[in-house]
Amino acid sequence: MSQPHKKLGAEALLDLVAEAFKSEIAPALPADKRYLAAMIGNAIEISRRELAVEDEALAFRLLDYVYDDGDGTLPQLARDIRSGAVNDATHPELRARLRAHLADELNVRNPRFAAGRGAKA
């Protein structure tokens, strides 16, 4: 059984929708719709997990390492890495911080992949 929810909202509803879809709808579909059903189930789960985390909070964990509090954005960080303004010499933990950010993303988008690679959020 899944964890109880804090409130009856989008995340809680999607939890139920995913469960009902996977247990009752998908198995009743013809074989040629199974791939589509698997994608729909996956999309619902990703959406539910994304609602449960705060995107911005994840980004700030990375950005706060590089920029003064609240000053940076992900597009700016991408530009600064490409230009060389931000690199391993200026920010020795950069690669580790990027991996931590990826671990956060993977635990929303593909937790099975994250678990297989030991990518803990």
Binding site: L36, M39, I40, N42, A43, I46, L62, T73, L74, P75, L77, A78, R79, I81, R82, G84, N87, D88, L94, R95, L98, R99, H101, L102, A103, E105, L106, R109, N110, F113, G116, R117, A119
Partner: protein, 361 residues
């Protein structure tokens, strides 16, 4: 940029689907193309798959000329959504012909046309080849342990034959020969693609900077298939029957193909079988080095694995943009667009390992 089979920016166009009756228009053209007295197409059947292009099985009776007799051929149409990073059908066909002449196992190239007056789209005709190309089915074949290593050696030899084709004497002169380091050229192409992408990817930018700074000099410029991976070759009874999908062919560093083949994202979950999810790397390299003029060591390929991961991450991002920005309402494209962190993770993992060994920062 070499890419996945249906990757890249698109210019979506809608066209009426082909009908079997359309192929009667091909008979006089084909008669001339193959030097026959008469060609009759007795049957045309749409083959399964082919979201990007259609594949039709043609039963063809040829009277006279060098191809006289009954044949089963496949007509492959151009993509309904043309892709700005891929070769057009005629250029791809010329690459297949060059590979065929070099002894690579490809479906024999028969004829090609870009004349829209024939069936409304460009197409190529090749011999029908038996086999299965579905990556997941190949890596989950219960008999894989019996044939995997031999198949990987066979694939290694095929790659070496592709890489025996060099840009000399006007061969495939429509393909640009790189004037800069080909790996850096790939990085530049990916950066250009990312400039127009909807989502910033700092990790991918880091990986591209690393690739740019650590690009090895090529020991030769050869033909590079550009998308040689499990899923793009056909297997029948554990033997390779044909190398498919040549639309990302280009001149470049041959190790690029090896790195793409062994990239973790193309092992379909068989992570311990480094060679495309089918066998150990040593088997692939045994086959390759038995045939190749320039031998390759496993240690050289880590860089190209990172390059492959970066390329597939970039392509995935572009796939998602086909929905977000291009208006193609496809759940598959949208889900593919969420995949870049997977390849970025694997690339950074390799970079970390190299850094720990003190080989590269």
């Amino acid at each position: 940029m070499a890419a996945g089979k249906d990757a890249g920016g698109t210019a979506a166009t809608s066209r009426a689907p082909l009908e079997p009756a359309d192929f009667a228009k091909l008979e006089p053209w084909l008669t001339q193309e193959i030097g026959a007295e008469r060609v009759a197409i007795s049957n045309a059947a749409l083959l399964a798959g082919g979201a990007v292009q259609q594949n039709w099985r043609l039963s063809v009776d040829v009277t006279g000329g060098p191809r006289g007799g009954s044949h089963e051929w496949v007509l492959r149409t151009d993509a309904a959504a043309s892709l700005d990073v891929s070769l057009d059908r005629t250029s791809e066909f010329r690459c297949i012909e060059a590979a065929y002449r070099a002894g690579v196992k490809v479906a024999e190239p028969i004829a090609v046309s870009s004349d829209l007056a024939l069936i409304g789209r460009a197409f190529a005709i090749q011999a029908l080849v038996a086999g299965n190309a579905q990556g997941r089915r190949i890596v989950r074949d219960p008999a894989l342990s019996a044939f995997g290593d031999a198949l990987a050696r066979e694939i290694g030899r095929e790659l070496a034959r592709i890489h025996s084709v060099r840009p000399t004497n006007g061969t495939l002169s429509f393909l640009p020969v790189p004037v800069v380091n080909p790996s850096r050229r790939e990085v530049a192409t990916m950066r250009k693609a990312l400039d127009g992408a909807s989502e910033p990817r700092p990790a991918l930018e880091y990986i591209l900077s690393w690739l740019d700074a650590n690009a090895p000099e090529p020991r030769a410029i050869t033909l590079v298939h550009g998308d040689f991976r499990t899923g793009n070759y056909m297997v029948d009874n554990g033997r390779l029957t044909a190398v498919l999908d040549w639309e990302f062919c280009h001149w470049g560093d041959p190790r690029e193909d090896l790195g793409w083949f062994i990239a973790r994202c193309w092992r379909f979950g068989n992570d311990d079988k480094v060679a495309g999810g089918i066998a150990k790397l040593a088997s692939l390299l045994d086959g390759y080095n038995a045939e190749a003029e320039i031998k390759v060591a496993a240690s050289e390929l880590l860089y190209f694995e990172v390059l492959a991961a970066a390329r597939w991450a970039t392509i995935s991002l572009l796939q998602g943009d086909r929905f977000i920005r291009g208006g193609e309402r496809s759940l598959e494209l949208a889900l593919t667009g969420l995949m870049p962190p997977e390849m970025e993770w694997d690339a950074l993992d390799i970079i970390d390992r190299l850094a720990e060994r003190g080989r590269i920062t």
